[in-house]
């Protein structure tokens, strides 16, 4: 029942849907509540077998899931229903397994789409689609005060499904945050992949330049206007996290850190 509602809703949302006879799976998936981070992968990308390399081994019920995503199943749907009805007539339990299969296929389709999505957003049109979402602040803005509402980028901590949920990367403070809304907290991180923020930053050079020009303010805890001593328990310990080289000396230091931290400051000191 709920599925019907979602599909109806999607039809109202996507006006370019000209066929009108059935709802396409991809738009309905992407417009679902909580799926705001997903962009729509064109069917041509999915139909290209090269892009699907190694996915059949990773996703269970691959063929069924793929058919579902590409709406190839829609034609045979009624036949399937008839078959099901017959089976229910003959044997109740078998009909049930059919239904179960359907939800399994739906789940597999979501997983497959997520993994395709992770690949697609690294391509040029994919990056473009994500950039549009980025500009519209659809991934949210950085909760850090001094980042001044910088847009975030979705990011996974692992490329295998089921390990970590999605995180958000702020290009300004170069840190990771949890999504603010609980409906995004349970999204699978692998559907965006570990490489996405990096590729995005390298593709849109102007973003990096913009971030470099931003002011590098950071907060310092004070009591009645006085700083807290370094040696105190509550003294500043995390200044380094938001620190940027300012003086000539520090820039030299940064250059020395090109490949490793200079030996003089090993953990032994």
């Amino acid at each position: 029942m709920s599925q019907e509602f979602i599909e109806d809703h999607s039809q109202g949302g996507s006006s370019e849907d000209d066929s009108g006879t059935y709802d396409e799976w991809i738009p309905s998936f992407c417009t679902r509540f909580g799926h705001e981070y997903f962009c729509q992968v064109p069917t041509e990308f999915i139909e290209d077998d090269f892009n699907m390399t190694s996915l059949p081994q990773e996703v269970p019920h691959y063929r069924k899931a793929l058919d579902l995503i590409l709406d190839l199943e829609a034609m045979s749907d009624e036949e399937l229903d008839e078959e099901e009805a017959e089976q229910v007539g003959q044997n109740g339990s078998e009909g049930k397994t059919q239904l179960v299969n359907r939800s399994i296929a739906e789940h597999a389709a979501e997983q497959l789409y997520g993994l395709i999505h992770a690949r697609y957003i690294l391509t040029k049109p994919g990056l473009q689609a994500m950039a549009e979402k980025f500009d519209h602040k659809e991934f949210g803005t950085c909760p850090r005060y001094y980042c001044g509402g910088m847009q975030l980028l979705p990011c996974g901590l692992s490329d295998t499904v089921g390990k970590h949920t999605v995180r958000l990367y702020c290009p300004s403070c170069q840190d990771l945050y949890l999504p603010q809304s609980s409906r995004h907290l349970c999204l699978e991180g692998a559907f965006w992949g570990t490489s996405f923020p990096g590729v995005f930053l390298k593709h849109f050079k102007e973003l990096e330049e913009y971030v470099e020009r931003k002011s590098k303010e950071s907060y310092e805890l004070k009591v009645f206007g006085f700083r807290i001593n370094d040696a105190a328990v509550s003294g500043p310990r995390m200044k380094w996290l938001r620190q940027y080289p300012g003086t000539e000396e520090e820039w030299q230091e940064l250059a020395d850190c090109e490949f490793e931290i200079p030996r003089t400051f090993d953990s032994s000191t």
Binding site: Y145, Y219, F265
Partner: protein, 264 residues
């Protein structure tokens, strides 16, 4: 937990209101509708704390509010200062209230809120206030740090100015020592001066056992497993700054404090 008590308070507050005013109850949350104060038995402070979005405030003792010494320099912030104080602690004469015009009552209500906020900023850095805020901090009433490596560290409210009307409240994370914007918009409209600039500092000085160990782990963007050079270089330099600080303080000193060191 906190939300439940708030709901209960709200409900009881509504019950005590006269029935002819029931239509107004709907828009109470948006504006100060509690002008029909002559009827309720509920304390003004409890009503104030029960309001949606006021979860960050703790209750200030009426004795603290009525002590003139604590109100030094606050007289000028509101008009009819004595009346406002009486109104907050529910000692204002009913005749006076009944004689007031609607506009005057609204003015009184908004003055009372502002005044309560400013007293609140003073109260929470006293011994009693700090311990009340500790309970709230422990139940994470101020929210948790959104930074991934801070592991949901509870936050502390802080203002950037001690003068009201400049900026809204911010949240300080004792773990990454950074400043965050409240998640919910109903909290980001609260004035920062109602908590003051010194509160987190005082809090951590008063309860050093609440200072968490700071996370060292950080994120460097990678492409197919390879770190982005520029970002990685900066991260290395920042790590160098940290090592310098550790060397300056002395690792044994850091460990001797037991708290406020770095996570292993």
């Amino acid at each position: 937990m906190a939300n439940e008590t708030v709901d209960v308070e709200l409900a009881s507050a509504e019950r005590t209101r006269p029935s002819d005013d029931s239509k107004r109850n709907d828009d109470d949350d948006a504006m100060g509708g509690v002008t029909d104060s002559s009827e309720y038995v509920e304390m003004w402070i409890d009503l104030f704390l029960g309001r949606k979005g006021h979860e960050y405030f703790c209750d200030v003792d009426p004795e603290y509010i009525t002590d003139r010494f604590n109100l030094i320099n606050l007289q000028k912030t509101v008009s009819k200062f004595t009346q406002v104080v009486q109104y907050i602690v529910d000692e204002l004469d009913e005749f006076v209230l009944e004689g007031m015009s609607h506009a005057r009552l609204e003015q009184l209500e908004s003055d009372a809120r502002k005044f309560y906020g400013l007293i609140h900023a003073r109260y929470i850095i006293t011994v009693k206030g700090l311990s009340k805020m500790l309970t709230k901090y422990k139940s994470a009433d101020f929210g948790r740090c959104p930074r991934v490596y801070c592991n949901c560290q509870p936050l502390l409210p802080v203002g950037l100015h001690d003068v009201p009307g400049i900026d809204c409240v911010k949240l300080y994370c004792p773990s990454c020592e950074d400043l965050y914007i409240p998640k919910s918009s109903r909290h980001s409209t609260i004035d920062g001066a109602y908590f003051g600039t010194s509160f987190p500092g005082m809090f951590l000085q008063a309860f050093p056992e609440m200072v968490p160990d700071h996370p060292v782990k950080r994120y460097v963007p990678r492409i197919f497993g390879f770190e982005l050079h520029k970002q990685a270089q900066l991260a290395r330099w920042q790590e160098l700054q940290r090592l310098k600080l550790v060397a300056k303080l002395g690792e044994e000193n850091l460990n001797a404090l037991n708290r406020g060191g770095y996570k292993k």
